[in-house]
C-alpha cells in the first residue's frame, strides 16, 4: 500500500457512501429513526377489478412471528424480526437491517371481502390478497314501484 494522506472518515471500516447520502433524503428517514419503537416495513399496494394486493418486505421473518389481522375495517400487519444469529453483537462491523417489532395498519375500503383475505409468505415478502365483493356490503337494489 502506498503512502496516503490520513483521512479519518475514509479509514473507518464500513463507512458507507450510499447510506451517507440516503440519510438526508426525505422519506427514507421517516422509517429509519433511531430509537423508534416499531419499524415500518416497505409496502406496495395495487389493485385491479377483482382484488387489492398488499406486499410487504419482511426478510428473514418467520411465519410464526407474523400477525395479519382485520379489525374494525382495518388491516394490521405486525410482528417481530428477531435478532437470532448466534454471533456476538460486538463482532458486527455494520448493522443496517432493522430488527425488533414492526407494524403497519391500513384502512380497508367498503367493498373488501374480509372473510376471504389470504396471506402468503415467500422469499421474504408477505403478500396479502384482499378480494373485492361484487357489490358493496351495504348496497341494495331498491325496486321502483
Amino acid at each position: 500500500m502506498s503512502l496516503m494522506r490520513y483521512n479519518p472518515r475514509a479509514m473507518t471500516p464500513w463507512f458507507d457512501f450510499d447510506r451517507f447520502f440516503e440519510d438526508f433524503e426525505p422519506g427514507v428517514g421517516l422509517t429509519r429513526k433511531a430509537g423508534e419503537k416499531a419499524w415500518a416495513p416497505a409496502v406496495d399496494i395495487f389493485e385491479d377489478e377483482k382484488e387489492i394486493v398488499i406486499k410487504a418486505d419482511l426478510p428473514e421473518v418467520k411465519e410464526e412471528d407474523l400477525d395479519v389481522r382485520v379489525e374494525d375495517g382495518q388491516l394490521t400487519l405486525k410482528g417481530e424480526r428477531k435478532f437470532e444469529h448466534e454471533e456476538k453483537k460486538d463482532n458486527y462491523h455494520r448493522v443496517e437491517r432493522r430488527y425488533g417489532s414492526f407494524q403497519r395498519t391500513f384502512g380497508l375500503p367498503e367493498n373488501v371481502d374480509a372473510d376471504h383475505i389470504v396471506a402468503k409468505y415467500d422469499k421474504g415478502v408477505l403478500k396479502v390478497t384482499l378480494p373485492k365483493l361484487e357489490k358493496p356490503k351495504n348496497a341494495r337494489t331498491i325496486p321502483v314501484k
Binding site: D16, F17, D18, D44, K55, P59, E60, E87, K123
Partner: protein
C-alpha cells in the same frame, strides 16, 4: 489493515437518482474464521443476482422485478424495484476461492473465509 469498505457506485451529487441502482441494507460481521455479509433482498429471484470478486472488490448486483398483472394500478409504492448494487472492498487476507453465497427468506448471505496472513517460519 483489516477492513471492508463499502464503495459507492456513484459518489457525490447524483442528479438522476431515480434511474440509479438502489442499495439493499446489509449487516457485516466478522468471526475468527470468516467475514459474513447478510443482505436484505426480499422478493428477489436467486437467478437475478450475481456476486463477483474483482481486484479485491466484491460486487453484488441484481434486479428486483415488479411484474404485476396488467390493468392493476398502484395505490402505494414504497418497495424499491429495478437494479440494485452493493460493492465491498475486501481485506487482503481472504480466501477468494472459498467464498460462498446462499439465499434464504429474502436474505443473501455471503461467507468469506479468512486466511492466515502471517506464517511462522521455522528456524532450522
Amino acid at each position: 489493515m483489516r477492513m471492508i469498505h463499502t464503495t459507492s457506485p456513484a459518489c457525490g451529487p447524483r442528479p438522476h437518482r431515480a434511474a440509479s441502482a438502489w442499495a439493499p441494507p446489509v449487516d457485516v460481521l466478522e468471526t475468527e474464521q470468516l467475514y459474513l455479509l447478510r443482505i436484505d433482498v426480499p422478493g428477489v429471484d436467486e437467478k437475478a443476482v450475481s456476486v463477483e470478486l474483482e481486484q479485491g472488490v466484491l460486487r453484488v448486483k441484481g434486479e428486483r422485478k415488479q411484474a404485476e398483472a396488467e390493468g392493476a394500478s398502484y395505490k402505494l409504492r414504497e418497495r424499491r424495484a429495478g437494479a440494485f448494487r452493493r460493492n465491498f472492498r475486501l481485506p487482503d487476507a481472504i480466501d477468494a476461492e472459498g467464498i460462498e453465497a446462499k439465499f434464504d427468506r429474502g436474505v443473501l448471505e455471503i461467507r468469506i473465509p479468512k486466511v492466515e496472513r502471517s506464517r511462522k517460519i521455522p528456524i532450522q
